[in-house]
Symmetry: C2
Subunit: 250 residues, 2 copies
């Protein structure tokens, strides 16, 4: 049996009661640490909390060579942990299909995800978000403008856009870096983005949420990762009030 | 202090460790039961689990007369519980603003939400969803087609649509009822929806997920509530495979 368990947003206590019970009863515990990270907990803290060894999986262990993991799941109760909610990343969907191909029963225990948490943090309403997008770290000879195409299309429909910021090994894109990259794309596309919402450490005791134009937000101190951005479309009155009260919108 | 706590998707064990700890330490526990419901737990079961009395809030207690709740929060630690993740519903955002207006500190403990769970249940990828919509129960002289406008606009952009089904008191819209209403809208708008994905009891031990055309899904037995629908846009290969493996897509 292979159970995918979402750990939620920030630390060891963000897991559900159901998820924790299943981990403590599991024969094998694997943790995927490349699509996202639980920034408020180390692997050692998780092991102490679960009373279990936790094996860390690299991308290659899941996407190229999942044999060890699947062999465990074929014989015994195996849990696959990830930050947020499982399957929001396609690499997990692929693993569940591979498990089914080998006749391994699977299940999912859901966890809190930034996909919905962004509504509470920003006050921006769920049904007014369009398609989301990701900003990758720039690479030589490659500077995509597709995230700005998504944002512009959403803004034309008066919708908000959730913008995921890149993670590469131990390098986490900040709100400031994300805004710089988006502003460069906006210049190329000759569009103007009047307002950004930056969010840091969703799910922690001290999340930072700030709304403002690019210049103001680029200078704001958001503190340690993870960071995420929202580019709002048209704001309703209640959204404006919420951003004024809880995100310093002037 | 007023803390909004998401209970997650289905039963008492879907709450986070952090959320449960805060409830057990709270002076006052309120449960909002009109925007969504935890179908796998009664109020009495929650009270036994929390070792606390739980006061049930009707819409009027939150939207018209939140004074009692806010008076409690002004003096002592008060938690406001809801199914899913708080603030996905606008009524919660309004309450947080009212609390801030009275100088009451607020916080949010996130829970698993259908907004992200739908990805794991259906295999449809998060970044390929557009704006979501809701199908209301029909009322005399009022039959909106706006949900089909949202779906069509998303499908033109090759995006999936999450379709919330109405809850009115103890009346929960089923997948079959939702499809009938959407098909009627589709006829009026002269569009054709080739594929639906119906989901029942997300977060439970026995969720049902079925993909197929309207005719087939309308006859399928999804069992007890809550139900939700997805209208897929263009399917990627992995999404097709996932729906074949886990949702009976032919």
């Amino acid at each position: 049996m292979l159970t995918f368990i979402g750990l939620g947003l920030y630390d060891k206590e963000d897991i559900s009661e159901k998820g924790l019970r299943l981990i403590r009863n599991a024969d094998h515990v694997f943790l995927e640490g490349y699509t996202s990270r639980l920034m408020g907990a180390t692997r050692e803290e998780l092991e102490a909390y679960y009373h279990k060894p936790v094996r860390l999986l690299r991308r290659v262990d899941v996407e190229q060579h999942p044999e060890e993991l699947l062999d465990c799941a074929l014989r015994e109760n195996t849990v696959f942990l990830c930050a947020g909610d499982p399957m929001v990343s396609t690499t997990h969907a692929d693993l569940r299909i591979r498990a089914a191909d080998r006749g391994i029963p699977t299940a999912i225990i859901h966890g809190a995800s930034i996909v919905s948490a962004v509504c509470g943090l920003s006050g921006l309403q769920n049904y007014r978000f369009g398609k989301s997008c990701s900003v990758p770290f720039p690479q030589a000879h490659w500077s995509p403008t597709s995230p700005m195409e998504v944002i512009s299309e959403n803004r034309n429909l008066r919708l908000h856009t959730l913008v995921y910021l890149d993670i590469q090994d131990d390098h986490y894109m900040t709100v400031g870096e994300g805004i710089d990259l988006l502003e460069e794309m906006a210049r190329k596309k000759q569009v103007k983005i009047p307002l950004y919402v930056g969010i840091a450490r969703a799910g922690s005791d001290a999340p930072v949420v700030r709304a403002g134009p690019a210049g103001a937000l680029r200078c704001a101190d958001f503190g340690p990762p993870l960071h995420v951005l929202v580019v709002p479309g048209e704001l309703h009155d209640m959204e404006k009030t919420y951003l004024s009260r809880f995100a310093g919108l002037c």
